[in-house]
């Protein structure tokens, strides 16, 4: 059974093989995403992150989830040589580059705790898979053509891995390089496959900010594979990526 809903400012879909339509777990997952949005959305004036950015809450009063996100962000910043940084040039914090993967992973953990083994949770193009599809095969994931969103340019098969794609579409300044303060223009899309969507998301964010060098970050990182598309439509893949290609 597959259900879709808008949450966290993006479409969210959850498919659970073998779960009936009225299974309460669907509501639990969507409620969880609403909770994440209320806490971490920089576009909500009343969110905890907005209050922190206005210096209205001292660190000792931050929620446990907020402290965890800041801690994970710091760790990611260190592991990526500073290319992942939730602190923006204006001095405000925007953890969206790590919250999405973290939240999807948590939602998947919720499904596992309820005993579900075959599922996927997808939010805004980032995905956590579990087991196999209804057909009994690994989940088939299509990478969107960054130049034409109706097309797919690559298909990969995964079972349990997480997949995250960072990208700029049209002229949007979605991710920028914390080191130079500008949006990378030489690449348009970078997809990372990792042991879970949290790992994939944080490294996709950091690697995309590096521009063309980003694929090397993924190549060097153990357990991650990547598919990068540049502004000319040339894709570069890490040495183990082909194993996922269907």
């Amino acid at each position: 059974m597959k259900k879709e809903k808008d949450a966290m400012g993006m479409p969210v879909s959850v498919e659970i093989v073998g779960a009936p339509a009225d299974d309460p777990v669907f509501g639990e997952v969507f409620s969880y995403f609403d909770y994440v949005d209320r806490k971490f959305s920089t576009y909500r004036d009343e969110s905890e992150i907005s209050m922190i950015n206005r210096n209205e809450i001292g660190m000792e009063d931050w929620s446990d989830d907020m402290k965890e996100i800041f801690s994970l962000s710091e760790k990611t910043k260190n592991e990526t040589g500073g290319f992942f940084d939730i602190k923006k040039p204006d001095g405000k914090y925007d953890p969206s580059g790590i919250v999405k993967g973290w939240a999807i992973k948590n939602a998947a953990e919720l499904l596992k705790r309820r005993g579900f083994k075959n599922f996927f949770v997808e939010a805004g193009g980032d995905i956590q898979t579990g087991g196999k599809s209804e057909k009994g095969e690994p989940w088939r994931i299509g990478i969107r053509n960054p130049f034409n969103m109706d097309e797919i340019v690559k298909v990969i098969s995964v079972s349990g891995e997480g997949v995250a794609t960072s990208g700029t579409y049209e002229r949007g300044r979605h991710i920028y390089n914390p080191k130079s303060g500008t949006a990378p223009r030489d690449i348009v899309s970078l997809t990372v496959v990792g042991p879970d969507v949290y790992e994939a998301d944080r490294f996709a964010t950091a690697a995309f900010a590096m521009g063309k060098e980003g694929i090397n970050l993924i190549e060097k990182a153990r357990g991650l594979e990547g598919y990068m598309i540049d502004e000319k439509g040339i894709a570069t893949m890490t040495s183990g990526f082909a194993a996922y290609a269907a």
Partner: protein, 169 residues
């Protein structure tokens, strides 16, 4: 004779234990040069893990970073003032901090001493990289279960819409 042998084995086992523990990596990561906004993390023997950060100049509020562990320390009420901590041997060198309390709460922690540079950063050495396979992207006609990619409408539009709708609830 047996006692002597047993004692020797015990001492050897202990020696291996000490050697094994001292060879465990202690991570100390410092930002690259030129950054005036630094945050440093220190691992002391695997127990307390405390993260500190300097305040922005002219701003005594915590500037960011995070606190983990020892939350009991953070939630108590303290007397206002600035306090200097002990110099602590942190394996790679000495660490000493000073804490500033304002309105009964810790508002800032500064490093007075920290160990000499031990960076952990990923170095991208282009010469050492293998040549990665490239291909021109092509539209695929396969059926898929899920699509990965940024959503079509711009991020700003979607987020703005979400925030407007949240006020409408």
């Amino acid at each position: 004779m047996k006692k002597l042998l047993f004692s020797f084995l015990l001492i050897t086992a202990f020696a291996f234990y000490v050697l094994f523990n001292s060879s465990k990596s202690v991570s100390l990561s410092l930002p690259s040069n030129g950054s005036s906004e630094t945050s440093k993390s220190l691992s002391q023997g695997g127990d307390a893990q405390m993260h500190y950060f300097p305040a922005d100049s002219g701003n005594t509020q915590p500037s960011g970073g995070m606190m983990s562990g020892q939350m009991g320390m953070m939630s108590r009420s303290y007397r206002d003032g600035t306090y200097t901590g002990d110099v602590v041997d942190a394996y790679f060198g000495n660490v000493q901090v000073s804490a500033t309390v304002k309105n009964g709460k810790i508002s800032d922690v500064q490093f007075l001493q920290y160990p000499a540079d031990r960076r952990t950063s990923i170095e991208i050495n282009m010469q050492a990289m293998p040549v990665l396979v490239q291909e021109a992207i092509q539209s695929q006609s396969s059926n898929v279960d899920i699509v990965s990619g940024a959503t079509q409408t711009s991020q700003g539009f979607q987020q703005s819409l979400a925030s407007a709708l949240s006020k409408a609830r």
